[in-house]
Symmetry: C2
Subunit: 228 residues, 2 copies
Amino acid sequence: MRSMPDDRTTRAVIRDEALRLFAAHGHDGVTIRQIATAAGVSPGLVVHHFRSKDNLRQEVDQHVLAVFEGLLGELTTDGGTAGLPGPGPTAASSISETFLRHLPVGSPLPAYLRMLLLSDTDAGRGLFRRLYVMSCQLLDGLADAGAASRGRDPGVRAALLLVNDLSVFLLRDQLTAVLGVDPLSAAGLARLGPELLSIYAGGLNAEPPTPEPSRPEPPAPEAEGGQA
Amino acid sequence: MRSMPDDRTTRAVIRDEALRLFAAHGHDGVTIRQIATAAGVSPGLVVHHFRSKDNLRQEVDQHVLAVFEGLLGELTTDGGTAGLPGPGPTAASSISETFLRHLPVGSPLPAYLRMLLLSDTDAGRGLFRRLYVMSCQLLDGLADAGAASRGRDPGVRAALLLVNDLSVFLLRDQLTAVLGVDPLSAAGLARLGPELLSIYAGGLNAEPPTPEPSRPEPPAPEAEGGQA
DNA sequence: CAGCAGACTAAACGCTCGTTCAGCCTCCTG
DNA sequence: CAGGAGGCTGAACGAGCGTTTAGTCTGCTG
């Protein structure tokens, strides 16, 4: 090893490149040879460090879930609604948003978690269950604080709040193409947040505070459409 | 051809089996040999009828989208909110629900559309754009009827309503595992619908009409209990 | 200095993939 | 009845896959 540009071991480099590629193309869409090339090593070395491709997949899964849990720990010790000056319901819509704010911008972690959630694996089901429990606790907290009602069926309401939050996450690219702005970027959140907040605060019939009676515009959603 | 159990041509049988398998496992998760076996023919015949696997994929895509458009035509001529006696906002939450009611129960079409939406292909992007335009028109109609407000940013509000509707669709299996009932079955809709309607009608703070102040239930969603 | 352990590579194995090819059988037509 | 067209099969090809193996290099240790 003549020159090591970073302080990660070769094993960690392979793991990180596998993470990045898995996140982008899914577990089955990536070959050991691609991972090896991305990490700058030979395919044999990947198998030398991790016993097999399936074992590498499991190890990356565990690593991602561990980082995720660690991040969750930070967020709860910080205080769930810290940093947001708005009223209660904000927290309900910020599970993924708060999560993203604590990650480097180019991190492959969100995409990996998205892939896991959609992957029909035990890891994905466990992750969703984890998020569901969190959503239940969050709704319970909001209800105790008087910021929200538990509704007729609290378990269902918590599930709805969760999947609605995740939908922006899962359809991020599609929304970007249609709205002209990444919904999870700062600019996107500035546009999406108030609208979602308005619905959660007063339902679909509540009137918008700012007097701008512009119509919805079905056509011309193309890139960077500078609409209202 | 000694005995043909149905009136479809062999070509149509291959196409339908490809549709079913693609819907379940994605385009890259299915081999020509699997499709051939499912259709009861040899792999060579699949290539004989469709020039290549990629061409078969495109043809199945087109077929699915054509059926989808046909169904959309039926729904709009039937009248958008027909069959639903509830108030206005019902229609906003029933794009996928109304859609599903017009399909045979075991139809692979929903799963195929889900896969397309998540597939990062031109077909998927076109489908989402189509749904977005529909959502914009639907919000516009609701607003004209006084059933909903266009909000501060109608384009964003329409997008949010769409992705929230789609989220139940995309996470159907995960919700089934957690709630113990398929959210898109009749029983599931009976549980989910009122809750969503309540949020859309009055926001998160509106009190439920039935006096059942039970707590949200984080534990015991279905089979085996929660982890760390 | 001898030798062992571990990081690492290059080559090759067996397998499955999409695709091709030669040929059979069964109609339909002249 | 001759003959061509098309549905259809089984075998085979080349490429790429995950994995195995043999062997090289390097640094540590006795």
